[in-house]
């Protein structure tokens, strides 16, 4: 561990209110990891949102694969480069290889699954005619999913995202900002870029941030069902601030309390808001 602070992580993923009514499973997924082995701090969270549209009928699996692949890849990456003091090399790896590795590993996972479990007549029966040739040309479409993830090591924070979803940071004064990722101009409304697109690596956005004197006090990752539940953007950002304010006075106890309440809050939020599945991952830094 760094010796000055410890990162804690937790999260929750709940089925959307509309999905409950329509008997559709939760098509989001979440994974997190907090490891302090061999004095090497490594924390990560990944959330994914399967497209949900009936055309992408295996997107719940696609989302599950997305967070699993991200977790494995980022953990390996963190273990290899997590102590690097010269971030130039890390930056080169991120820029030149990470996106390719992510997409390749997700593709491989999907291909293995598809080979083991080919599309059934029942799955294909509900598809509209114009989509069938597209699926035949690219069967990975059925698994379409987004991904938002963050890795923290002893020397850097790495943000990595493909498609919609939100990553926000909160500083020690409680000020909330969006993570410094470039905006994907292709995201609009419910249209998103996706892991299932050919050359999906082109849509992966990354940002490597040295872990300097004043790192964020908290990072929140969420699928778009959360932000879409608020009337205004400010209301969504205020959620991160409120969560920070609830944890901050109590530290670890606050984290335990939040961990308990988060699932029921998210369930209430989807019911009163977007109706979509919601996944939220929190990374919180406690100064020791």
């Amino acid at each position: 561990m760094s010796g000055k602070h410890t990162w804690y992580t937790f999260g929750s993923s709940v089925q959307g209110a509309t999905h409950v009514r329509n008997h559709i499973p939760n098509q989001d997924a979440i994974e997190w990891l907090a490891s302090y082995e061999r004095q090497q701090e490594l924390v990560l969270v990944a959330v994914a949102d399967g497209h949900g549209n009936p055309r992408y009928f295996r997107s719940a699996l696609g989302a599950r694969f997305a967070v699993q692949v991200a977790r494995t890849l980022l953990e390996q990456f963190g273990r290899h480069y997590g102590q690097a003091t010269d971030l130039t090399v890390v930056e080169q790896m991120v820029e030149q290889q990470l996106a390719h590795l992510l997409v390749r590993q997700w593709n491989d996972t999907v291909d293995v699954h598809l080979a083991a479990v080919p599309f059934s007549p029942a799955e294909l029966a509900g598809l509209d005619a114009p989509f069938r040739p597209k699926l035949a040309a690219n069967p990975r479409l059925a698994y379409g999913s987004t991904l938002a993830s963050t890795l923290i090591t002893g020397t850097f924070i790495l943000y990595m995202q493909l498609g919609d979803g939100d990553i926000v940071t909160v500083n020690t004064d409680g000020v909330v900002s969006r993570a410094p990722l470039v905006v994907d101009p292709q995201l609009s409304g419910d249209v998103t870029t996706s892991l299932c697109l050919p050359s999906a690596w082109r849509y992966v956005r990354t940002y490597l941030q040295p872990l300097v004197a004043h790192p964020p006090a908290m990072i929140m990752l969420a699928t778009d069902g959360y932000s879409n539940s608020f009337v205004k953007e400010d209301g969504f950002l205020a959620a991160a601030q409120d969560i920070f304010d609830m944890i901050e006075p109590q530290g670890r106890e606050g984290i335990c309390t939040l961990r308990k309440y988060l699932p029921r809050w998210l369930t209430a939020t989807t019911a009163q808001g977007s109706g979509d599945d919601i996944s939220v991952g929190i990374i919180y830094r406690i100064v020791r």
Partner: protein, 236 residues
């Protein structure tokens, strides 16, 4: 711990627009059936909205003849929406109507968290004004591009090519109503099945025939359109 984190919550707004041809050629039976069909579809439309409390459905209507005007200008909750009968007369200023709708789809007018709007264009003729500039204005708006654009042609004189341009997507073609039962069926389908599909939050991207491509085009998974009626004598 009873208060939820964050600001005010709300279900997502869904804006539905009727864009209706009121030119002289619509006079008589066509207009009568159109008024009947929209009125008839309202209870079912309300039911669809009630079944999904996570979408707030607002309805508006614009008509075009010699010029274009709002028939229902305010974004009206579907539960309060009433249909006043339209009368036909004049030319076919379709481009002007599309411009008026485009103005209501700007990011300032519709915040980004909404569900994709549904635009239903009904016409029996060909535009007499600058259709292309109206369509351009519509497609310049992010919500115009992302909207579910449905077109219903009434009779053989309708300009199907123009309506296809409005749809702007090869996967969907204009529904051609050759008789009153078809018109009723198509209007009901657009205002219920399409509305239902549009009001469920899903993400997707649009792909080309090779399964590749960028996220463009319609975003609402459109349900299969109804088949035209068989052996109906009263043909327009």
């Amino acid at each position: 711990m009873n208060k939820l984190p964050g600001g005010a919550l709300a279900s997502r707004p869904l804006h539905f627009f009727w864009i209706v041809d009121c030119s002289g050629s619509m006079a008589g039976k066509k207009m009568q059936e159109l008024n009947f069909a929209i009125k008839e579809s309202l209870p079912e439309m309300r039911k669809v909205a009630e079944e999904n409390p996570n979408a707030q459905v607002f309805v508006r209507a614009v008509t075009f003849s010699s010029g274009a005007q709002w028939h229902v200008a305010r974004a009206t909750p579907v539960a309060e929406f009433r249909w006043e009968e339209l009368k036909a007369g004049g030319e076919t200023s379709m481009g002007k109507a599309l411009k008026m709708v485009a103005d209501q789809l700007s990011p300032e007018a519709l915040p980004g968290r909404g569900l994709p709007p549904v635009l239903v264009l009904i016409s029996d003729g060909r535009p007499t004004d600058d259709f292309n500039s109206g369509l351009r204005a519509l497609m310049e708006q992010p919500w115009g591009k992302r909207a579910a654009r449905i077109a219903i042609a009434i009779g053989d004189d309708a300009d199907v090519d123009i309506l296809q341009k409005f749809i702007g997507h090869p996967e969907m073609t204009p529904l051609v109503a050759h008789n009153a039962p078809d018109l009723v069926k198509y209007i009901k389908w657009a205002s219920t099945a399409v509305l239902k599909s549009a009001s469920s939050p899903t993400s997707q991207m649009e792909t080309n025939q090779a399964g590749a491509g960028a996220p463009v085009g319609i975003t609402v998974p459109l349900p299969a359109a109804p088949e035209p009626a068989q052996d109906v004598e009263d043909v327009w």
